[in-house]
Subunit: 208 residues, 2 copies
DNA sequence: GGCTGGTTCAAACGATCGTTTGAGCATACG
DNA sequence: CGTATGCTCAAACGATCGTTTGAACCAGCC
């Protein structure tokens, strides 16, 4: 069905691109290395040669996007964290905007779908990988939320962050897929989406 | 690893129970019919004999729970829909409480996990099945939300409902799994959870 | 008893899975 | 030129997949 993804680029990059697409469409188990390498236009053995195993390939698909994404998130957070005039909107924007930006670079929107899948899977190996490598990001954001919402108990705060995370993950996994009206520019659409997500999250986090 | 689920009951029920558990743990592709029938303590061929195929079994796992769940939701909604004194809290309670109740019947909490998986998978066959059979439920709730939030545009309302749905699906897929403090009764825990979800959803739907 | 329809069973079907192998190819360096 | 080194390739490995088959079993009914 799907033929040739990314006919240019190195073998590793072609594999990563095809993996992102097929993992998003059919899941980690559903997408086979044969479908994947056929779509990438590379030999079947190339996956094990370059990545070692299918599981390592999955991790690399995450690493390639999350390293950059979370770096941008932390960079944006660092600019505002601790400042007295910082608002909840600012912190949420630091978390949300880098993800929406990614969704409009090359085929980054597919990645948010892959991320949503990983979120729904309660696979221990994958969860541990994500927690070990990117757990500190959520920890820093949580600390800033706690500072801006001192009236909330720890338990209450965790509940709300969990719910917001679920909402954002779900929403962003569909973003970039929906048909956009032709008279709305991509940038305006992204800005509108950001506003929806941010306002919703502010309301969910800070309600009395 | 997993041995014998539901050693009593009919063959069909044993299969459905084991399927719910393994689909929740390993996904629809990840759980094989051999693991499944071994856990159920039935013969491998029993799945195809009773259900026709693995895909039909998946549908039956959904049907068994969703028929009852959505019937209860609509029943609760019917009691309050259209009434002048009905609040957003009431409508959200009609949607949320039946799901939390299910999570504390037998192994119903596993089902919410399966549902969350189906939500993350963008598989067309499964989505169509759910939409055809249970789409009217969300449509009725949406109509009532629209009535109670007349100030919102259609587009704005859909955005908020989508975000709330994502939050609830995520939260309920983890509910029943978390370790509960021993000094908190099950009923109190469920009520506390319901309050969290309802208040969050009200804030997300009705913020200015 | 004999027969029937519903159910279970072990065994096998072809297909597909992730992974490994060893030969072949290209480029770079002595 | 010779020979390493990094990479690609077709082919095969054993394992496991969903599904099918045909015999065996077992109630209930004539």
């Amino acid at each position: 069905m799907t033929l040739l993804v990314n006919s240019s680029g190195s073998t590793k990059d072609r594999i990563l691109g095809a993996a992102e697409l097929l993992f998003a469409q059919r899941g980690f188990d559903g997408a086979s290395l044969r479908q994947l390498t056929a779509a990438a236009g590379v030999n079947l053995a190339a996956v094990n040669y370059h990545f070692g195993s299918k599981e390592k390939l999955v991790e690399e698909v995450f690493r390639r996007r999350l390293d950059a994404l979370n770096a941008r998130r932390l960079e944006a957070l660092a600019k505002i964290a601790g400042a007295p005039e910082t608002t909840l909107e600012d912190v949420l924007a630091a978390y949300i905007r880098p993800a929406l930006d990614l969704s409009h670079e090359d085929s980054g929107s597919l990645f948010m779908r892959v991320l949503a899948r990983a979120f729904a899977e309660h696979d221990d190996t994958l969860r541990q990988f994500l927690s070990e490598n990117y757990g500190h990001v959520m920890r820093q954001f949580t600390a800033e939320f706690a500072r801006l919402l001192p009236q909330l108990s720890r338990q209450e705060l965790y509940w709300r962050i969990d719910l917001v995370t679920g909402a954002l993950t779900h929403a962003m996994s569909g973003f970039g897929m929906i048909q956009r009206k032709h008279d709305v520019s991509e940038l305006a659409h992204r800005e509108q989406t950001a506003q929806h997500l941010i306002r919703f999250s502010v309301a969910g986090l800070s309600h009395p």
